[in-house]
């Protein structure tokens, strides 16, 4: 009953095996190895993006912040949702990597930016003068920080607003697999209009691996230097590539995400059946819900772990707002046991 985070669990055995399998022999350093070449090609293929530049890094913060530095000057304005990971949860890494870019948070229900709100924010930025900085890029998160998803249509709408203003679109896909599995859409369809992508592996069964994708090679100019300068080029790069490659094998990425999503769906339904209520719909692998205080007490007493989602401590007779995150490693027993405790 470990629902604190999808990074609390270890790596999927197939990914661990991939590390073992690629371990033999001497190969080129810094990415000049065959595993890396194979993995980059495999991502270009699954993304249906033959010209894309694909690179692998170890952390989501690195992936996101490197993209921000690549697409925004130091004086740029980066539009994102007010709960975006890049804004709230990366210790100002985008500001550090970009040398000062301003994250401009936009409100929006359940973690999603509405196109009209984005358009207005961009207009205000464009109308400002030197004091305001220069419009630089838009970043959306899919699945969002609220466990909801942008549909392919939503993404296209956001991209249209951004592109009309001349701004590239980044998607923080730390949970992109969960979004694709949840929406049941084709991966490339969910990325129409996206210029740069952080494609998460770590939360989906890898040890530590993410892909950075630039669909237009022009956006990737100098990126390898930037990655090196920030310490994110591994000398033995094959170990990053092998993880990401294993995720594509037999659709492992989708199967793991689908499993996590299914667990979340059951949790969400279950919680409602025992008197709880959802704060946001469950589109992916996160459940934001209010659960009865007694259920919360019982769950904690039995060792369930999850984050509270409110500022003040839980109070008797008040429902408790919680975030439950499932992962590839969540078991049916975990879900059933937790729901039993809720009753």
């Amino acid at each position: 009953m470990k629902f604190a985070s999808d990074n609390a669990h270890g790596a999927h055995p197939a990914i661990m095996q991939a590390l073992v399998d690629c371990n033999d022999g001497a190969v080129g350093s810094y990415g000049a190895d065959p595993v890396t070449a194979r993995a980059e090609a495999a991502y270009r293929e699954v993304l249906d993006a033959p010209d894309a530049v694909v690179r692998f890094v170890a952390t989501g913060t690195a992936a996101n912040a490197l993209v921000c530095a690549q697409l925004s000057p130091s004086y740029g304005r980066i539009y994102c949702h007010q709960t975006a990971h890049i804004h709230l949860d990366e210790c100002a890494a985008p500001e550090f990597f970009s040398h000062g870019a301003k994250l401009v948070p936009i409100a929006g229900e359940q973690g999603r930016i509405a196109p009209a709100d984005l358009a207005q924010a961009i207009r205000i930025g464009a109308a400002g003068g030197l004091n305001d900085g220069a419009n630089a890029m838009v970043s959306i998160t899919n699945a969002t920080e609220w466990g909801t998803c942008y549909t392919p249509g939503d993404v296209a709408d956001i991209a249209q607003v951004a592109h009309e203003a001349g701004l590239p679109v980044h998607m923080d896909g730390a949970r992109l697999a969960n979004a694709v599995a949840g929406l049941g859409c084709a991966l490339p369809d969910l990325l129409r209009g996206v210029d740069a992508l952080s494609f998460g592996g770590t939360k989906n069964g890898a040890l530590a691996a993410e892909a950075v994708v630039f669909f237009d090679p022009a956006h990737a100019k100098g990126f390898d230097y930037r990655r090196k300068q920030s310490g994110h080029v591994f000398s033995k790069q094959r170990y990053l590539a092998a993880q990401m490659l294993a995720l594509l094998q037999d659709d492992l990425w989708l199967r793991l995400a689908g499993h996590a999503n299914a667990c979340a769906t059951r949790l969400g339904l279950g919680v409602q059946q025992v008197g709880g209520s959802l704060i946001a719909p469950v589109h992916a692998n996160e459940v934001f819900a209010r659960i009865p205080f007694e259920a919360h007490e019982r769950a904690r007493a039995h060792g369930a772990t999850y984050h509270l989602w409110q500022d003040s401590p839980p109070a008797k007779d008040q429902p408790v707002a919680v975030r439950l995150v499932t992962s590839w490693a969540t078991t049916d027993q975990d879900v059933a046991a937790f729901l039993d405790l809720m009753r």
Copy 2:
């Protein structure tokens, strides 16, 4: 016969096994896991530094540049050897992380700074005004970029000069294991006077892991934030810790380094016996030598890989300057086969 780099080979099986062994279950993220706690404690013990702050990162560039940013302000002067990795081979990562610190290169034979030269450089820096920046720190590399070593006495001498000027000392120990094995000294003895250490794992059999050590906790203030902001905190931090912990098991780190050193020693001796000459003495796992042109041609024809160490291309009848690097994975056969080709 792969002598291009000690990062061309994969990971030692024991280290790979450690990854597998730590993989089960859900643990705290971002370093709040038992493997990390155990590994940090183990390093404090082997370093005989009960108060030290130990952290793990994935790359040597990250380790070094984070230390530089920690010990130098943006306007600081960082003294290092003119061939230091931080100066020549990290794509200006120290400048990036520190926001502009100036690396002040110091000449010195075979990769080592002479204390008197350091003292003079520090004096010049101290005599300068605002235009020159402020003296901030000293960084030495052990084993050096020339495969030589600072002895414990050498390190203490450098530290004395630095400390008299109020400057902390960093040791880039990407090949520290090779230095300890080569010198046959106790690890703590080689670190007397060192304030911050990058302790390499990757070149010594890890997949991607280095330890950063601050012997005085005051030097580590805020370091975890700095690491996070630069994307170098793994959410599943246990995988970094497990690698570094495995290196300490049964002195694996020393045994691997000792093996690599022995291979280098044999290569160095062998090269001299066939008409080559050493450019620098072989103290660790690197051989800098001039070999006969014909021997070079034969070696290359038989698939030996290594770096040339001169600006102009090899010329007939001219000895060829080469760098041969051995590693934990170099075999006796590799060495023997190479020396056969030399003859």
Copy 3:
């Protein structure tokens, strides 16, 4: 009728004269001149802060951003009002100078932060982990961006909250003279608890000059290097010092600010008498008011300049929100003529 900004007017003749007067002869460069020494001493005296470190720079953005970089690490959280100049109007200069610090905006009526809101924001920041960055400093603006003032008691309350959390307090005093004149308090009384100050000259009759003050010299460590590295040390520093010194002569700073405030007060009263209404009380030299649409049209037609304070364009039959800023150079005729147009 130029009410667009207090930096639209030129320099007061006495300040221009001070430039002429200090022009003769060769003196030490980079601040080693007698005018600079005299000016720094004069500010220490007027601030009743014999140990303070005083430096002069040319722009308010430089003053504020340098202080932020001095008091916050790159991973720091800087608390400020959501309308603070450092947050909205300096093109992310604090982020640039500090290398990434996060400005955490706090809501508050009429440009002022309430101590309880500050305390809560600091608590949330302190409760966060690595992802949130580290609490670093508090910055308040006096007079505020809304033309209101913190009283000495208000400042002390803010400082108490900040200091209890171990955070230093910066005051952006671009219009500090107007605050002192408006409150009728002693300058040192308004700075109790303040650790670092940007003391504005440019908006108050200088050509381009601001003082940066650190009340505790420990906070100023390395500041001169930081100033130099960012290009804000003048080789002929006397010209900055002379401006700031002239402001202290015969209380020129207070007299100019008092005049500007009086003009604003009259504007504020007048606007109310002709059917307008104040959006915020007039404490200093800015009037935020809603004026009748017809009055706005007449004023514009007669060449009055000022900024609109609303997102959408003025509409017939709707009062128009405007900002009127007065300065040392605003004349009684300007005020009278404008109010005539309002009628």
Copy 4:
């Protein structure tokens, strides 16, 4: 007899008068004023560069470092002479503004880079991999730090080498007026092949003013934001513009520089006549010479100020290496009196 620096003297009366003359009235802030427009146009005309983007800042360090940040990414290599001001005398401002760019110093006689040496350095940089960073730009100083000049042909040769490698050329023209006056060439002729220019005013009679020029507007993209973000946009920008405009009036810039040069020439000749020797030829307003020890003692005793140009203190019976800098304010009497003391 103040020969320490050309920034020790004050401002030329005509420049001070220009400040007074532009002081009246309210104008647009942040550069939207008529003086700025006039001054920018005047520089485009004198540079014979109708499309150039011209901006004014207060310090040479700001001018140079902003150009570096504009033309080099954080991972860029900036080639310059080993004695370049940007490398040795700006407290690592280029590294700070660019977020880490590496200054690659090139040796060369009397402050000048030889085209062949530049070509070789660029080749080495281009041959390097990720570890070395990316070739970004070339910066030359004219007049150089050794008081010598690049001729128009020299500049064109450097530019050809740079452009063949795809690198833009920056000229640090802190003493450009002295170079033009010394060479007797047309200003535009000395700038053939130059892409960005720091055109110095401060050392040539201004209070604090420099022009930054981008000959190709594409190089200036976003520059105003960059200037703002670093605190180098004055709200009352007219005062910078007025200084630079006054320098163009009746060729004041050339007359002042010509006077300083003539003083230097006389000093150089005189020093040789009394047993001294030149270290570098006198092309502009600096004299590098060895003077008899006794002459040095006498000069110092009579209050002459200048910098020593050697590491160890002057010794009896040893000639003393000195730098003598003349300026617009140096008088014939200063020169004569100094030479009298030499005898």
